[in-house]
Symmetry: C2
Subunit: 232 residues, 2 copies
């Protein structure tokens, strides 16, 4: 028996961007296995406005610890979300196409940092708000990708190799529509007024970018009023 | 045909720490597919002294671009290499044991950042100086781990999904002994005087830490004089 195997793995860390999906994911994780940790990674995206949202949400859900990490990756990663010379599109990409808001290796970077944190803190799982339905263009939001990352995590870590435990990757929203996410968030008391979805970093959501439109559609279909909505 | 598939993938990026292994790896990559890019990631390790070495090596091998990236991960990752309250061991760990210098998810973090960079720059491969022989305690230096990361990279990226190309993970030193690495470096003209292996960040190598000892053993067995060696 190795020293590591005596350690009991505690609860989970949630990747928290501050958007409606990660807020709902935090609510799910906090209900399932409290107290959770939250990890917000700023990778140079333009919507840094989300951080204030993430901090408020972490407080509301009484996380055990909220880590905000600034990784100066923006200039290295070619994406409309990290570079100011690229336009953020107003519509979601056509089905089967990867949209220009795709950030190369984004979820792999986020998950690997969360993996290092989870192992260091002896946590048993990583939660993320990935969603493969309404925004299906991102390759690193697909179930087969997430399963593959979990396999990698087992090979990569002391936890996996010496202790024979797997740090799980949980994506509870993976197969929900945006409307289903709104309903799940309602059920769990997500304070929508604290969340931020807009791709632009203004004082109020623009209401026009792909992310704002998708949010609006979700609330409308769920029959729920979005408190952040600017126009009637 | 998608726009991405028309792009020809260029050469490789090399993860360059400034140690003797990554220097030799850079020499191999620069000989095989010039001109290469170099990526040095500072993740809060104590041996930040390696950066100066990395810069000098990048210049010597005339890399197309050298990116130095500071990721403030040190306080989050539990390791003798990232925390000042943990002793760096003087000996290599016993066979089959993971040493305390193991950094949780280190290679997964480094490779995922390199993957995002490689995809953004349309590069075809990531080189790293991982070695599974003389320092076999790290789970994320094993061939099965590296193969798994390559599989993940194919699922994670636009390059893999839309273009059907794989960004390869190349670890040319993987099955070499330390002495063989010294011989390969000699053959390719690695300027050993520019490399830095010591785990401590002093003005000169300590000569006593596990990394210094392993380096000394490699040079001795290869019958090559190490110009950085302090004691006769």
């Amino acid at each position: 028996m190795t020293p590591g195997s005596a350690r009991r793995l505690g609860p989970a860390v949630v990747l928290l961007s501050g958007g409606m999906d990660s807020a709902t994911c935090l609510a799910v994780a906090a209900a399932r296995e409290p107290p959770v940790h939250a990890l917000t990674v700023l990778y140079g995206q333009r919507h840094a406005r989300e951080v204030a949202a993430a901090r408020a949400l972490a407080r509301r859900f009484r996380v055990a610890r909220h880590v905000v990490l600034r990784l100066p990756l923006g200039p290295l990663l070619d994406s409309a979300l990290t570079r100011s010379d690229r336009a953020v599109p107003a519509r979601a990409a056509a089905r089967g196409q990867i949209p220009p808001t795709y950030v190369p290796a984004r979820n792999t970077i986020l998950l690997s940092v969360a993996l290092g944190y989870a192992e260091s803190q002896h946590l048993s799982a990583i939660y993320l708000g990935a969603n493969a339905i309404d925004y299906s263009g991102y390759p690193d939001c697909r179930p087969e990708y997430l399963r593959e990352f979990e396999r990698l995590a087992r090979l990569a870590t002391r936890t996996g190799v010496e202790d024979g435990r797997t740090i799980r990757v949980r994506a509870p929203l993976l197969s929900m529509s945006k409307a289903e996410i709104v309903r799940e968030g309602e059920r769990l008391g997500v304070p929508w007024e604290l969340t931020w979805s807009c791709y632009l970093g203004g004082r109020r959501p623009c209401g026009r970018c792909a992310s704002c439109r998708l949010r609006e559609k979700g609330f409308r279909e769920a029959g729920v009023r979005d408190p952040t909505r600017v126009r009637p």
